[in-house]
């Protein structure tokens, strides 16, 4: 009986959370287009998120390209299909692996950072202080961060994809004597706009999800310092789940339209 009650409470809490987050998203869309605009803070957030994630995304992309090529090479060699390596790697990375892996890395790096920062501002009354001083904290803290993640994530993903392809090209150059020019010629021959555009559109949604969940968890943080940890942790967990759901929907829609 207790088990059923516990499941019922958790289910209710889950749907309440979805409702609250939807309301939070609606409020974002209401406030994002209304003046005053916090341009300075938006640029600062874009810089912070892009600049601070640059090395992490770069290293992740590079290793992703290296490892993917190294792991695929023996199998392709067995079938005499190693010349397909640039096409296979580029399509896999640009359409799916690059955006998802980099978005997950950013969920950990940026999403948890936003959750912890806003959470700690909430419990130390900094958000209240902002409101009392006549500044709309939702606009200043939430809108700027969500817009920044939505704009910066596609850029980080494009950069990460490019570095991953470069990593793959290095392995092909060292192991298969393929020149860089030939490798990238084959990459661009294989890629079509129908591969790049859906992946890029998808990455905007990934960015939005990371910003939205991080801000929602941080802005609604309670229970003191414990709550800050919970907000940061929940931001990563919820965002990761949301990223997979968005990815599934994006792949499904791409399949229909392309």
């Amino acid at each position: 009986m207790n088990g059923i009650k516990s499941i019922s409470v958790k289910t209710k809490h889950f749907f309440e959370e979805i409702g609250d987050m939807s309301y939070f998203a609606i409020r974002f869309f209401k406030e994002v287009f209304s003046a005053p605009f916090e341009w300075k803070e938006l640029i600062r957030q874009c810089y912070q998120m892009g600049n601070r994630s640059f090395i992490l995304v770069g290293v992740t992309g590079f290793i992703l390209g290296l490892v993917f090529t190294l792991q695929s090479r023996p199998t392709l060699l067995q079938f005499g299909a190693v010349s397909w390596m640039p096409s296979m790697v580029s399509l896999s990375i640009i359409r799916e692996i690059g955006p998802v892996i980099i978005a997950l890395i950013c969920a950990g790096r940026i999403g948890s950072g936003i959750g912890a920062e806003l959470g700690s501002m909430k419990v130390t009354e900094q958000i209240d202080a902002m409101e009392v001083s006549g500044t709309n904290p939702f606009k200043y803290l939430v809108v700027t961060r969500i817009v920044a993640t939505t704009l910066m994530l596609p850029l980080l993903i494009i950069m990460g994809d490019a570095i991953a392809l470069f990593g793959s090209a290095i392995i092909e150059n060292l192991k298969g004597d393929v020149s860089y020019i030939l490798y990238f010629n084959k990459v661009f021959d294989a890629l079509k706009f129908s591969d790049i555009i859906p992946a890029t559109i998808k990455s905007f949604f990934f960015g939005f999800a990371i910003g939205l969940v991080g801000c929602y968890k941080g802005f609604n943080c309670s229970k003191g310092t414990v709550g800050v940890g919970e907000a940061s942790n929940a931001a990563v967990v919820y965002t990761s789940m949301l990223l997979f759901i968005i990815d599934f929907i994006a792949v499904f829609l791409t399949d229909i339209f392309y």
Binding site: E117, T124, D128, V132, G134, T135
Partner: protein, 245 residues
């Protein structure tokens, strides 16, 4: 007749089943320092947060300059808030900003509210000078001691030259010497800026030095009202409990 600058009538606030404020009333007169004392958890902070619209009251009215804040829209409330300075219990300085940025923050959208030809930098410096901390202008809040943080927060609360200042436990977490300094500073500010102050505290020393009048908040309502001397001589055991040390 003294001018009433802030008036709370029959304020009620509950969280679920728990009734925190149960018909609280208050009048703050122009130029006075009114202390509201109560035990921890008695609803003092809830009351002060209802006062600036950070929490919605369950019922009752809160009038500041004849405007009932419980019925104001967001824009009108933001305008009214510039007339009120708020010193938070934990200072609430923005920890990602320097002291200069912290003080300049309220001026971003309300610069025209202050009738002065001074630049933002000059206004910030003057506010810091008033609390004796102009040398900290480029420091981060984490580089300041608790007492210095409280003084910077006070300077920030005063930056828009408000008519009313709300102090939420201004001496909590400070050592006795620093507490004394903060209390003295509060007095100096009141004289300099001619503000009316509502002070929420459970610090008897603070109440003794700063108050013109006091209200004891017990069980969510005004238990007793009077000057410090009157209340400290009261024979009521509930009142005596506050002053026994």
């Amino acid at each position: 007749m003294r001018e009433v600058i802030l008036e709370i009538k029959d304020l009620k606030k509950s969280f679920g089943e728990h009734q925190v404020l149960n018909g609280f009333n208050l009048k703050l007169y122009k130029g006075e320092n009114l202390v509201v004392m109560g035990k921890s958890g008695s609803g003092k902070s809830v009351m002060i947060k209802c006062l600036v619209g950070l929490m919605a009251a369950s019922s009752g009215s809160i009038k500041i300059k004849d405007l009932d804040i419980t019925s104001l829209g967001q824009k009108e409330l933001d305008v009214l808030r510039t007339e009120i300075g708020f010193l938070f219990q934990g200072s609430a300085l923005y920890d990602s900003m320097t002291v200069r940025e912290n003080l300049a923050f309220p001026l971003r959208r309300n610069r025209d509210k202050i009738n002065t030809s001074q630049t933002t930098e000059e206004i910030v410096l003057e506010a810091l000078k008033n609390v004796g901390l102009e040398h900290t202008i480029d420091l981060m809040p984490s580089e300041l001691s608790g007492g210095m943080q409280r003084r910077v927060a006070l300077a920030r609360a005063l930056i828009l030259k408000p008519k009313i200042i709300l102090y939420d436990e201004p001496t909590t977490g400070l050592d006795p010497i620093t507490s004394k300094e903060i209390i003295q500073l509060m007095g100096t500010i009141q004289e300099t800026y001619k503000t009316s102050s509502l002070i929420i505290t459970h610090d008897v020393d603070c109440a003794r030095v700063i108050s013109n009048r006091m209200i004891l908040l017990i069980d969510g309502t005004n238990y007793i009202e009077g000057t410090f001397e009157e209340l400290s001589k009261s024979g009521d055991p509930k009142v005596k409990a506050f002053f026994k040390n």
